[in-house]
Symmetry: C2
Subunit: 676 residues, 2 copies
Amino acid sequence: MWITYPGDFEIWLGNKFNNRRTERGAMFPPFWKQDSHYVTVEFSTTVNLEEAEEVEILCEGKFNLMLDGKLQFGMPEHFTVPAGEHKLNLKVWNQATPPALYIKGKTIVTDSSWLATYEDKIWIDENGIAHGSGIYVPAATSKYFQTKEQRPSEFALATEPLMPVSKERVGEGTLYDFGKETMGLLSVGNSKDKGLVEVYYGESREEALDKDYCETLDKFETKDFTPVILDSKAFRYVYVECAGGVEELDVYAFYEYLEQDMALGGAFECSDSELNRIWEVGAYTMDLTTREFMMDGIKRDRWTWSGDAIQSYLMNYYLRFDFECVKRTIRQLRGKDPVTAHINTIMDYTFYWFKSVLDYYEYTADTAFVREMWARMKTLMDYVLGRLDEEGLAEGQPDDWIFVDWVDFPMHKRGVMCFEQILLAKALETMKVCAELLGEEIDAEKYATLYKNVRLKTDEHFWNEDKKAYLHSIEDGQLNEMITKFPNMFAILFGYADGRRSKEIMENVMLNPDVEAITTPYMRFYELEALCQMGLHDYVMGEMKSYWGGMLKEGATSFWEKYVPTEQGTQHLQMYGRPYGKSLCHAWGASPVYLLGKYYLGIKPTKPGYQEWECRPHLGGLEWMKGRVPTPFGPISLEMNKEEITIQSPVIGGKLYVGDKCIDINTTEKIQVGLK
Amino acid sequence: MWITYPGDFEIWLGNKFNNRRTERGAMFPPFWKQDSHYVTVEFSTTVNLEEAEEVEILCEGKFNLMLDGKLQFGMPEHFTVPAGEHKLNLKVWNQATPPALYIKGKTIVTDSSWLATYEDKIWIDENGIAHGSGIYVPAATSKYFQTKEQRPSEFALATEPLMPVSKERVGEGTLYDFGKETMGLLSVGNSKDKGLVEVYYGESREEALDKDYCETLDKFETKDFTPVILDSKAFRYVYVECAGGVEELDVYAFYEYLEQDMALGGAFECSDSELNRIWEVGAYTMDLTTREFMMDGIKRDRWTWSGDAIQSYLMNYYLRFDFECVKRTIRQLRGKDPVTAHINTIMDYTFYWFKSVLDYYEYTADTAFVREMWARMKTLMDYVLGRLDEEGLAEGQPDDWIFVDWVDFPMHKRGVMCFEQILLAKALETMKVCAELLGEEIDAEKYATLYKNVRLKTDEHFWNEDKKAYLHSIEDGQLNEMITKFPNMFAILFGYADGRRSKEIMENVMLNPDVEAITTPYMRFYELEALCQMGLHDYVMGEMKSYWGGMLKEGATSFWEKYVPTEQGTQHLQMYGRPYGKSLCHAWGASPVYLLGKYYLGIKPTKPGYQEWECRPHLGGLEWMKGRVPTPFGPISLEMNKEEITIQSPVIGGKLYVGDKCIDINTTEKIQVGLK
């Protein structure tokens, strides 16, 4: 297989990915630092051969080969390693794409047992003696780079042709409807005349027909009769005009997607057809936004955003369990040192990034990944710590974006905000847990102390015993006593509010109609999870049906960036002061996929990677439900109706909780449990 | 002109440059981290136009264009900016080569008044309002990128054909002699048969003919009758064999060089023809090693090395005054954050790097460059400070290479070495002076304190009043009382030894035959400068003639990496345990160019950039001498014999010291001063 320096493929691919966004025909790169792969990497191994062995060498980059410290001539495509113990070192230089190496012989193959370094620090003195030492890490591999044809620099998503379901003459052009939200490369061909072709994309019919305000468009001159294949875009509708006046252009798309093994993925079906549709549309929304990386939305921004991504990861653990894509996204978001800004420039997004590593570990038990990320976790945390105030709390600096959520009510995002401290505490808790996991005792102690301090100060400053709620912030030394759901629901979610306090928050905040409602699926994700955690499954079921069902009633074929039920018609398309600014396929819109798997099928790991797990199923008012939750061992299947539960798991060590009963799952055979 | 992000062109070109080294046909990259350019850079300006203006836009990379915050369609080659005040922002993405932009209209041109950032941190809230701010720096320009054809990614040295002066049939092949050391691209053509062509390069005849041990070689299959042009190499001799058995190949070279304006450069001629030849060969050695960057040697390593480069800079101030090449090399050596190792992994080389910035400023008064480097000076010094011991002194860590010099006598390079503390002091002094220059008062105070501490501790620990010398080191708490010239001569050079102590060092160390001799031109540079500083011009003249004259007598056509006068024949070619390991064209071999300009013509700035300067000429035993020393204002010319001195300077503010007289140079006319 091909090997690269860990994280470098992601950083390089991330630049392609994030720079692919366009806005009305203009390239639209991110506004934060983009890093690069290490341009010169050394890969090395030691082999012990019974007989001499010829290996084939493929390389992305110029390279050299050293056998037992002696440089060999040129860049050989084949090389014979003699019998016995030998050291192989190959140095690869590639400025444009990540240095990558593929070696294959009878026994010698490049894999993660090889070491990689970007700085071997080996110097030779005047007597020809080598000195020095670099930092070596296991080389990175990927399921996508197994064969010699699968060159890392040529990584691409799968495509398949996708025809419009209808077309319609409108004005001077033709409107094509692909039947549902999709993402792909449009093919425009068979122009009988030469001339300017204009393509206007729309997630809605209105957008595609609004040439002046649609968010994405393409223009090109047809030069001959070869079909032109355009860069990937998000659309349901495409409106095409051709200056040549040609009536009929041959327009179709190549649907572009990340291949998944559906048989290993999650599933959900139940007695409520609207809920089934919600799950399906949620899954489709996730499949559209799970690509090279997990992106926010397919029309806009098409970037990796840490706060969006952590929800995608969690949904993914209940949908495709594509941990490669999770790792790719975590690596890409982190980038490289030096840290010059918060992730995506947003302070909360940095804190979510830490938690995403812990979440990943809890679902996969992949210690190697935590070890890979540890150095960059520490330097990112150094950046965070370097910006804390005297009390050790996080306050936004002039360069920091404090996001929290898109809110429709007045809410200050300055000073020391309770919401940010709770996320900071989780980030520090993550550092403590990961340090313990890696046996970094001094670090574990350091982060534990910092974590406890933030917990303590947060309670001291923001918990109000009269209002029985966490208050909003301290601004210029003054308490801002506003109450929002944001800090309160995270206090429940992270277990930072104890049982009594959680109940008080439920009454005074979460279920209090005087507290401002959340209008993005982004924060509804956490809101509804907190309610599920507090046992309000029936209530959340109703919320899911009214909120996500509400989008379906508006004709959604994928879930949106924001949904305000009281809005009407094209109001639903607006955002950022632009008539079609809102993304209609936004990953954070898909949370029912997560909620249904974790809180209705009720399955989650209780030890990392499902070494132990539990199932606490809830019908939430449904007649019956059945589904699957993926694990590293394969999916756990569950069927439940009011009479009985049937569960089958490829991994033992589970506990099924039914009422006040707990049943140990000690078999991979099907288990039936009566409920009466 | 083209604009780029400051330092990025150098980092990118440096990777090409440093990875071009080969050893017997194998690529040989450095063993330290290679950085990359920022792949996405935003360039911006504000214009105020009386009338609308069309501009031409050329770009290396994909780009977008924003007018007054509004993105424009596509990547326009021409764009009309309306009359009035407007803000132009262009974001350029290029992974393979540095993002570069060229805009030209009637009044609008890209130049250093444009701003550049790699992270604009400008985000847009839900209402479409832009927030945030990045760090902006003046865009980089270069004399090489003035016209639209001069694309930064296509930067190349000049070439001209160079014919061998003789050829000779040897064994199965032909030996070509180019008459002197040179560097260029060999052209091999007109093969009558197809087959394998083998090319062996030699700085010496012996090397070219030693197919098994010559340091560089090329092998290729001729496919047709087109001449093959090989990658640049260093050679005087080339031995070519052709498996096709062809008697006569058409072999010549393209001499490759950095163009210089010789009329503005330094010159030296005198009554001693051997000294004239020393100056000429020194100048040629410098011209061969002054290229994209200042390299150590043209055969090996062909890399930028900080300790070598600082001498090249100093020689260059007396030869070509190519401050662009100095800046390129300083930027390239520094690379980017994070600092993961000393420059070239060598602790002394990090310290020299700091001093090189101060030297550059003293010769050019280019505050803008100091400002450009300041952030990276600080982070590099943070790295240094983070590795100091409890006393604030520098001791080599396991990863650090302590170079000092190639020495032939036993010398420990461990513990707290006096030599390294003196260089550290100079580095801290540089930080203090640059902080003052930039008005960074807090930093200036901080570095002044650190500097004084190192000076104090160095004197306390290492100055020995009995031996009247600085001792070698403290190893494991024990004083190593060895005496070498290294720390002692730097104490004189940097003015850290006062007048009395300097004299003591001269007697007890520098002129003491029991102290081990220096055998590299590298440290002879500083040794002879210290002797000049102490007024021993006649003695140094003798040393120059015997040492550099000695190399000439051995047939040198450029100066060597190392010269031990007692060695014989092919011993002179050996180093690093390899028969031709020694570089016969090594920049640090050219120091007479510097010494003759600074201490015999005697000219140097006394205020930065020759705002004030002095001339203290010394014949050093010569009958007469004449020459030129370049300055930012053009060269100062001097002629001197035993009767009179004639001096002419394009800049006033000089002081000519003759005997005990001091004459103010207050005219740009020629001045004659009698010596009797």
